[in-house]
Symmetry: D3
Subunit: 240 residues, 6 copies
């Protein structure tokens, strides 16, 4: 069975990262994995939340959201429903944790960076695209702080971070699932990896049938290889 | 005093309308007035809300929202705050009322169209840009219904609708205020006009000093002329 | 077609303003426009909201609400629904903006005045009645502050403010619509005017058919004349 | 120690009940106990809540609320806070339970009556005033249903209901506490009594010092005598 | 008619109080009245709420809740519904008021004690069981503060507090109703009593038929006798 | 460095599963991993949510919550805060997904089972204890349905499910972390495994330093061995 877009099983969709997409944010990137499109902004605020004051440590947090018609059928806004759904909470927490692994919070000093990841269009892999784009926005926000002389110590960015989804479809491990594949996957895994190939998050879920250790291993191999390519694209976008 | 971007007092900012910006929506447009950028989607749903069932009439509704970092400094998400603010409510209602004036709800039949207007970047005039863009998305959604044979009667679009902000700055009436002008305006007015130059909404507010009848008249003249240009741009975008 | 209560098209309903209707409020008025009855209270609080501290400026804010059975059929309470509706938000904001035009906030000094407008009975024109009554309550609250020596400068009241609704019914412009007219109006306009006849707010809405410039002009004429009468009634109520 | 308004310990404040205070409600009464003033409306709705359908039984429910400036200092609106406080819930439930004791729900048939009790001014005893006034509104709503031929059986009103507060101040049992007494009471009791002198609710609370059986007995005696007078006033108001 | 569990009309169910059921709380007790089982925790926090700071007085507050499947059929969680129901509010307030009668808040000093009463299983009388158990948890929390030397004055516990439900079933007054009796009771009363037999709260409700003074008296007699037994069990649990 | 309770690195804490802890639930279990104690209830409801009606498939859902004083210091209730936190949402979803892997929803037929997991005391590993206990409650609820003849097909339980946490502390992989270890872990992983040793969920998080593939492998080995022991304990509890 070929993939819906005829990719090889270990091939990413076309990925583009457009840096500085927004005018006001201290860092921003529009990231696209095929038809998935996520706008990532990094907003710097002086100071940290009250419970962290005086610690000398900075803070990085993230919020994920989807436009109502990012998807095949329209979803009601969470602002209108008056509460945030479990999926949104879960993904926002994942993005925040992942990006905190990129940064030495002591070097950041008592500054806060908010990462907003808004999905403009969703065709699978929105959370991993968000992480990949948010890293670029974060890097620019850190540079902005550096240029202001507002860091506690130089070089707070200690890891580059990228992420990709992998899954098993019809028994075949595949890299970077699009929506049509995602809904049919037997196993679905999101993997967050550093630029040097170590793991920050591994979240694997059996959607129908429990998975074996060898399947898990094959998926991790695919993800690590995919993230290596994403790391290069991030570096290019940042002109580094 | 020249305007911040050196425009004439009766000149619009560069306006672009990118039709079909989204993949899944039945109609969509990215509308830009200078640095103001609003993504407008029209989503069709078969049927109408319960209180309208059996009336034979369709329904058009709108929701307006802003990305957290569309603005100079970051705003908290209304979904996180758990409630929608008064300004958002007010603008959503204005957009909905304005676009309902575009359409013969009996001809639409028992179909619902949701207009989502998400501000990606805000530099003044977001609500009027949203109305102008939402008309294009609405027109495409109506065509989509027509192509499906789902309309109750042909040609439900009875008016084209566009909108613009006008205001008095330093005693001078000006067309299409950008943010820097908006915060300094003595009087601020949003005007929604049909393609044939009649009024759908007139909302004028004295920000500091009450305004005279002659000032009101001058602002209305500017707005009507500006909307005539927007009507042409909408027609071009729709390829009509 | 005569009006339901046989008034002339440019005639107000019987209007009464009962000052000091409440015992504890620093200013209060029960205002009646025919069967529409709104209780307006002004509550003084020392100090201003946090974001305004140290500015030397005062603050005036308003909240509008309706008793569940003010209307023909019962409406659920917003406190029970757990959120405030768009209409309530919109009207509260209108009242607040309108009354802030009455007052020099620097002269008020760092004092806050809350205007509560609770509709006890609704027969059309509740928001404009609320503005008209709230001005009387506000004036008394300012006098109360003056008597306490708590103003930053004398005479913070710089404009008197009144408001009225106007509309086009069966092609005829009419002053001060009652509910039965309001629901049939082709165009509906709320106009807030100073005691010297200048505009504070003009909010016109095409309910069915877009309106022409000459209709707009006729409605504004009616509104200005009506507000002149209301200004006299306010002055009488205040014994000035 | 004389009472603040020089009443005898077993004397009610001046009580007035103004029937049909509102225009649209099927029953309404403005009830005043001295400076305490509560507007009570009874709204009839055909049918009963879903969980009660098909039972043949009607439903009576109540909601209590206070205007923000009914009190000495302004209270925030529960609609603005987005939730109903414990005190409001507790009183609404008490009013509902008390008035359901007035009525044979089988004779009422599958009709719902909502009792809204809005405190316009509060000087102690608002919940008991609300119960006393709500009975009058309820009686009129029942008559309205009777006149429509909408009752399941004649005479659903089986008890008249009134209520009063009593308390111990400086060791002395007193009837109908005003606010100044209420805050100083050692024991505070709200008693709901039928027209024939039986108990519907007895809610006694030791505010500071636990109370003895003989104090409880003295308070109940006062309450029963006070309610007998209220029953007469209700009968007069209803012209029965 | 014998009682469902064949008890005498003036007999308590088997009552057990297991002290220190939880590991972290400063005081805790699992209290069981037959199949009713409530876990009561007392949590000490240094300091008092803002509105009480500098008063020298402590604060005691309570929250009551039920596990979803404490009952015959599952109830939705209030956290999921997003608001607390009236019944929960009412009972939480009753427990807080009752336990504040146990303590001299000046002797407690500026310390706060939160009493959490979570119903693990419900077979009638949960609020009175909660009060009875919360007293034991409170006493231990006070001892904990004493051992820390954190009290303002010695011996802040001035009353022991217990509570029981009583009711009239088939005309017979009964002590300590189980659920099956509770739903059939004509009159239902919750009585909170000190260790010396004085009243803290008396809450009697006619569920169907209003009740007479002699019925009220019989119920109070039963409750006082039942609470005397509970006082002994509390003393035993506390090893005092 | 020995573990705080001197266990071997691959040793579980003492685990007990008390079946049928509650009276009313169709299945229930109190599960304890050392001082962690979770009450798991399974509630059966006939029918499925609206969006699933007519599908022939059943539904299994889960809610996780913690008593306020399950922890070292008291946490505010989510019902009082009016919203569910991200952590609660995330864990509830994990439990639900994990237990749905236990069951053939077509064989279950159009029945719903709600799994409530309430943490009575928390000393690390609450989510994995909850999954382990919920399986026992679920199995009993399925038996209850079977006894009623309400299953669509026999034997809907297709996998037994257990879960355990593992982590790296001071470079050493450890099984079943207690709270004191959990806060110090460099890597933290929750693993859900079937009775036959396949994976249902793998969630690994780098708390400070990213982790290597060999560390991941060692943690998975520990988890699979731990779950094998838990499977035996579940089987014993179920008397199977």
């Amino acid at each position: 069975m070929p993939r819906p877009d005829a990719r090889a099983h270990d091939q990413l969709r076309p990925v583009t990262i457009t840096r500085n997409w927004q005018k006001y944010a201290e860092g921003s990137a529009l990231v696209q994995f095929g038809d998935t499109s996520v706008l990532c902004s990094a907003s710097v605020q002086q100071g940290v939340p009250r419970w962290r004051k005086g610690s000398g440590l900075g803070w990085v947090t993230a919020e994920y959201s989807m436009l109502p018609r990012a998807t095949l059928t329209r979803n009601d806004r969470e602002s209108v429903k008056g509460k945030i759904g479990g999926r949104t909470h879960e993904i926002s927490r994942l993005i925040g944790r992942s990006l905190r692994a990129a940064i030495d919070l002591a070097a950041l000093g008592e500054n806060s960076i908010s990462l907003d990841c808004d999905v403009l269009q969703a065709d699978g892999g929105t959370r991993t695209a968000a992480i990949t784009g948010a890293y670029v926005a974060l890097a620019d926000a850190v540079s902005w702080l550096d240029a202001k002389g507002a860091l506690a110590r130089p070089k707070p960015l200690i890891n580059s971070i990228s992420a990709v989804s992998v899954g098993v479809i019809d028994g075949e491990p595949r890299l970077d699932l699009m929506y049509e594949e995602d809904v049919r996957a037997e196993t679905d895994m999101n993997v967050v990896v550093t630029g040097t190939g170590e793991f920050v998050e591994v979240q694997g879920t059996a959607e129908g049938v429990p998975f074996r250790r060898d399947e898990l291993d094959a998926l991790l191999d695919l993800a690590v290889a995919g993230c290596a390519q994403l790391t290069t694209l991030q570096r290019d976008a940042l002109g580094a």
